[in-house]
Symmetry: C2
Subunit: 129 residues, 2 copies
DNA sequence: TGCTTATATTCGTTTATACTCATATAATAC
DNA sequence: GTATTATATGAGTATAAACGAATATAAGCA
């Protein structure tokens, strides 16, 4: 992959937030949607861009698509990955997103429950300190 | 500086080529212009973007502005800088640009000589293997 | 089979970025 | 002072990227 394409892939706040989530866990689209507060189409598009740049990969499990970091990317660009993780750890939005993800995991809700009760879930997540 | 702004600054081919030149030497605008084959306004704007992101810095010497890497950037983001240098070393366009820069240095031409005889200089540079 | 859920994609719109041409500024030399 | 050289900037345009709404696909489930 061209160097410039890698930088472009990282050069968007939404994608940085997605990568911050995926450096810790694998996650399906509706979870990412909920945590970032973006719509499904937008989430899917950003994931597609990261996938086509070779930064993330996915596993299909039934109707869900679980996105995760691409191991080959980490192997090929360890310095960049380490740099990214270090910076993400310090970034307030990234920290907050991970807190929301932990809350969401506690609730133990499936994608459909989240969707059905999205407003309430978002409200709850909004209270996370 | 926001992480995303740093990635955006690196996320352009012209700026990658500029940074590749500056990781080896300091250089004035007209030299960068000539090597990259872009116009003055365009070169100046890209340099400004890199400067305002804190990646490069400059020294004014008489009417020339010599751009160079910003030492604080290298200190603050050593992993990113190392990653960039490693990748640039492997990139064919970057390698070629440095060859052109070496040719240009050999000629020992000032900015005005380059400008006066730009077509010829560019032709010469085009022959570099 | 038809219905629901999860994700991807198309289309049109908006926003951001890059570019060119022309002009402005700033330093130097005469 | 004027002329020249180097660089920066303004204005307009072109290109690319991001977005939302609606639709398509694909996998489960009744």
């Amino acid at each position: 992959m061209e160097l410039v394409e890698i930088f472009k892939a990282f050069g968007d706040e939404t994608r940085i937030r997605i990568l911050n989530l995926l450096r810790n866990d694998e996650m399906c689209v509706c979870e990412i949607e909920t945590i970032l507060g973006i719509n499904q189409s937008n989430a899917s598009r950003h994931l597609n861009k990261l996938k086509s740049t070779g930064i993330i990969d996915y596993d299909k499990k039934a109707q869900w698509v679980y996105y995760k970091m691409d191991e080959n990317f980490i192997k090929e660009y360890p310095l960049l990955y380490e740099f990214f993780c270090k910076e993400a750890e310090k970034d307030s939005k990234c920290i907050y997103d991970l807190k929301k993800w932990n809350e969401l995991k506690k609730c133990n809700l499936g994608c459909k429950e989240i969707e059905k009760d999205k407003e309430n879930v978002l409200k709850q997540l909004g209270r996370v300190q």
